[in-house]
Symmetry: D3
Subunit: 238 residues, 6 copies
């Protein structure tokens, strides 16, 4: 993913990007119930690599077997490319951890952009300390093999009620995680950056006491005022 | 699946079969929240064939596209072998239907043993009229493409919080749906049939006023009494 | 509402009607979690009259005050026109009853078409005995003033997550309750009746062993076959 | 409990009895989410005997240990007096069964009035066949020791969010289960029977087309009419 | 609302105020599941102005139509008086935002005391930055018209399971949001301030090692000690 | 509980301790949905003393009666030994507070190690200020007698879905609360401390870019490397 696309997405933010997707008729692009692990953590943006879990079975998912070199959970950690976002379909279950602090540290070292699950993590404190951007549904302290079995990498999955196809672009920040169909990423990034820039203008106007009517959402007249403000060098911008 | 295995499983019932799996250390074999569509419907038993859904996306899941001959949802209906149980992983969502009455009628005609989903069905009334044994979580009246996208056949899936591997044997009746690992089906069927036969004996004893203590669960002494009762030709059995 | 419209809607059924609304871009027209009170009860169809509840307050909602002639709950029962469907917005709460058996008997006598709430009823047994078609979320045995306060009649409300504007047409049957915007009722009824008639044809074909592909959903060719079947007098129809 | 009290309670029904308790300031006497196992089953009324469960632990709750003669679960079945209602506090958990069909048959034989749990039962079909009145939250097919450990008999417990003190009178029917503080049972039974008798009169009036206003809830005038109707021998009563 | 009333309420805190309402028989005055948006934000107190949402409909709630000058959502923002608390009935739905950062900035500028919804907000980060006191149920990042339709201003509504009548006084702080019937606000403020003052005394006593018995809740003797402590000039008070 | 045991448990952390219990076949030792009240609060470890609540009843649980010297809720606060953890079974209910700030201050003064409930607390702000380590499910601002009745001390209870027997050792930190059967505490503490020490080594290796495979989980080879690292004086350790 080009750095310019990444930059624009992060600056626009997940809520604005979701609005751009809504304009294209996509109404279900923000993961439900998925929140950042750490308040104030940096945002994440990157193409998705997926890992799918199904429920565990006591004979197939033992602590011993979890150590095998074939284990898909740990292969996901070792193979997710730098700059990508690892998306874990845990079918919403916090009955066991989708990831722990050792895995988070390894992902951080390897340059992965972030992790998202609709399950949860263990060792939340230690994971925050790695600085890796993470989103999840809630705490899941039990060891993974108690309830989760890794079954496949790089399939289309669901996560937080949203479809994620490998290569789709994920943007995660304080407001949540939005999934952008891969072929739309560049144009959506550009449009969202424009919308965010307009919102900077609108925020300044509101701070001066202007009413929302005729300002936000934009009207043709307010777009013209915005263009003039841009032409003047965006005065007042932080 | 041999008819003798099928017969024993059905006579034993899902609750007893689950007990046999518990003895083998498998504690999570009964689907959560999954109930029969019709009270009094015949039970189902057969090897699993799976269909996996993920959330829909408005551009990929249109009513028009749903009519395509490649559509995996309808391929599942057309390709599920006679005697098998179609297991649909709808990740617990009743936001749209996993199946409707036309599909149920087609499955019935093709000799499929039954359908299980952790989502729901539409046209419940008409589906009951087909006589096809079905289990689901609850009513799901909206058209499938509103919320569900079929992504793969014959993968390991989760359904109602239980792992289902293709070929695992499903038994569904009034008490729910239990999943039997494929390699255990024959021995579990035999053990469950024996446990169910013992329960017939125990029920007769209870009807005569006998206490549960020393009778149920069985003790070595009560097992001997049972053997004698069998030797006598199972007197009193309905 | 013309009798022809009512008849067509009932024959088509709520699931088919919901499909027609989906074609018009309306994806959220079926009430969530709302089920018939009685299995096998007759369906209901009619224009909506609404009653809105908010949470009760102990000083405003006493058993004594509940007897007042101004009480909006009982005015709703006395004023709902014959042939209309009374829609009760109980904000999903089953903490107290939206209706009891006396009210149901009175509505039945007055010729009201049915009642829908996203709360629940008390005296379920006695209500069934009146024969009044009813839908609700689940049993709510406590007296209304314990948790519910009637605040207005004939406002736009929400019920089961769907918007209901006074005059919208409600159709409720075994599959649930669908809300049809008032101005669309006649054309949707006609379209749904046609779709239901096509489904009769398709069901006969499936019973003869025909595959779903090329039959359901319909294709231009299968629609031509259907036209021929109609021309021949719909042979085989029950 | 005197037969006259039992008879009045059953005839009045749980919803009316709950109204009588509301008049005494008791607003939380009906168990939440607890429903009859069998539609159309006879009602139950009797003094409560309690059994309290806590979560199971794998080392303490084995299938083998479950067979012990000390097991409190089975002692509850063997010691609950005839005419009492066995109340099982399963802290709302349907993760395992509060009771199965063998236990139900034994309770039935022993003349226990009924069973209530805020968990669930297994072998629902077979339990219905015993004719024992039962209420529960929902199906719970797994064996008890998987998730439940019996810890005490005859303690004050919670069940379905309502306090149950040993000796409190439980009334369970189609509308749910209401808990009557033991010292109030006789007077509440009498008041409820009177309220129910008034409701018979009101139902007849409604069937003749009379409005709810001035009839239900009762007014001093309508009570006088009722007295006259009683004096005339309750004409029209079924 | 007089400044003295506001001051007392804020100092007493929502939990203490709820206790005072409980003494008056009002048991349901604290909104369920409603939490502050920002930890450490200043509290809010003021008379309620209400906005009621119902579910959206795709033909009535478009992004374009959202820009109309009649839109009740934005009228609520422009018309809520300074010092008032805007109460938004979103029927508990976080499917779309009850408010975003532009609206929050505008409300802040206009001197509104705070916002409460039983839905959620988008742009949480930016809203916190405005300093406007806000409470909500949880994050709701999707654009309002996706799921919410504003239907009326200044009606009685429900919010978080509590009735809110226009003019009722809302107090929101770290512990939640309590709703005070308008006619009770002054006397409750005074009583709560007294209770809070007593709690300061009790806290000092506990810090010196005194037992709760005979101190908290207060007894006649401990009230006399408190009076003496007040007479002595409240020594030890921070 | 010996200080050495306490120290080891705290250093290992609840997630690692839960792993040690899993090795012994105990899969359900971490309380579900129970979180620390304050981010960054110190951890707690100590033997459990229990308090069991059942639902309140308006005639038994009055504000006046709550002041009685016999009240078990306040006896729990006064009698819980220093160094113990008070475990409150509130059957998951946040309808009223399990504890408030006065009680927390008293417990802190008395040297109790911490409090855990599967209900919630009121006065969260003030409780945090006491510095007492607390865990709960969520905010519960209403006064205790509104919904909770204290029925017994020092019984076996459930809390957050886990069995707690008096004397079991509780460890609570950022990751949650784990319950250690009393007879296992010493050996589990030792094993967990060893596992935590190994994790320090593994974390250093990961920071140097080493793969998870062959490192975490441990293998016999990596354990030998660990032994050498210990022998060398644990170089690099913070």
């Amino acid at each position: 993913m080009p750095e310019s696309v990444r930059e624009r997405l992060i600056r626009a933010g997940s809520a604005t990007v979701a609005n751009m997707l809504l304009r294209r008729g996509l109404r279900n692009t923000v993961m439900a119930g998925v929140v950042p692990l750490a308040a104030g953590a940096p945002p994440m943006a990157g193409p998705a690599r997926t890992l799918r879990f199904i429920p565990a079975r006591e004979d197939l998912d033992t602590l011993a077997g979890y150590a095998s070199s074939e284990n898909l959970h740990r292969r996901a950690i070792e193979e997710c490319p730098p700059g990508a976002v690892l998306v874990i379909d845990a079918f919403g279950s916090t009955a066991a951890a989708s990831m722990g602090d050792m895995m988070a540290a390894r992902l951080r070292y390897r340059g992965v952009a972030g992790v998202v699950t609709d399950g949860g993590y263990r060792d939340a404190e230690a994971i925050r300390a790695t600085g890796l951007p993470c989103h999840h549904r809630g705490n899941a302290p039990k060891a993974t093999p108690i309830a989760l079995h890794p079954v496949a990498l790089d399939e289309p999955v669901g996560c937080g009620g949203v479809a994620v196809y490998p290569g789709d672009v994920l943007l995660g920040d304080e407001d949540g995680v939005v999934v952008i169909p891969r072929e739309l990423a560049a144009e959506v990034a550009e449009e969202a950056a424009d919308a965010a820039a307009y919102e900077e203008f609108a925020a300044l106007e509101i701070a001066r006491g202007r009413s929302l009517f005729g300002l936000f959402p934009a009207t043709p007249e307010s777009r013209r005022e915005y263009d003039q403000w841009v032409a003047r060098g965006r005065p007042g911008r932080k």
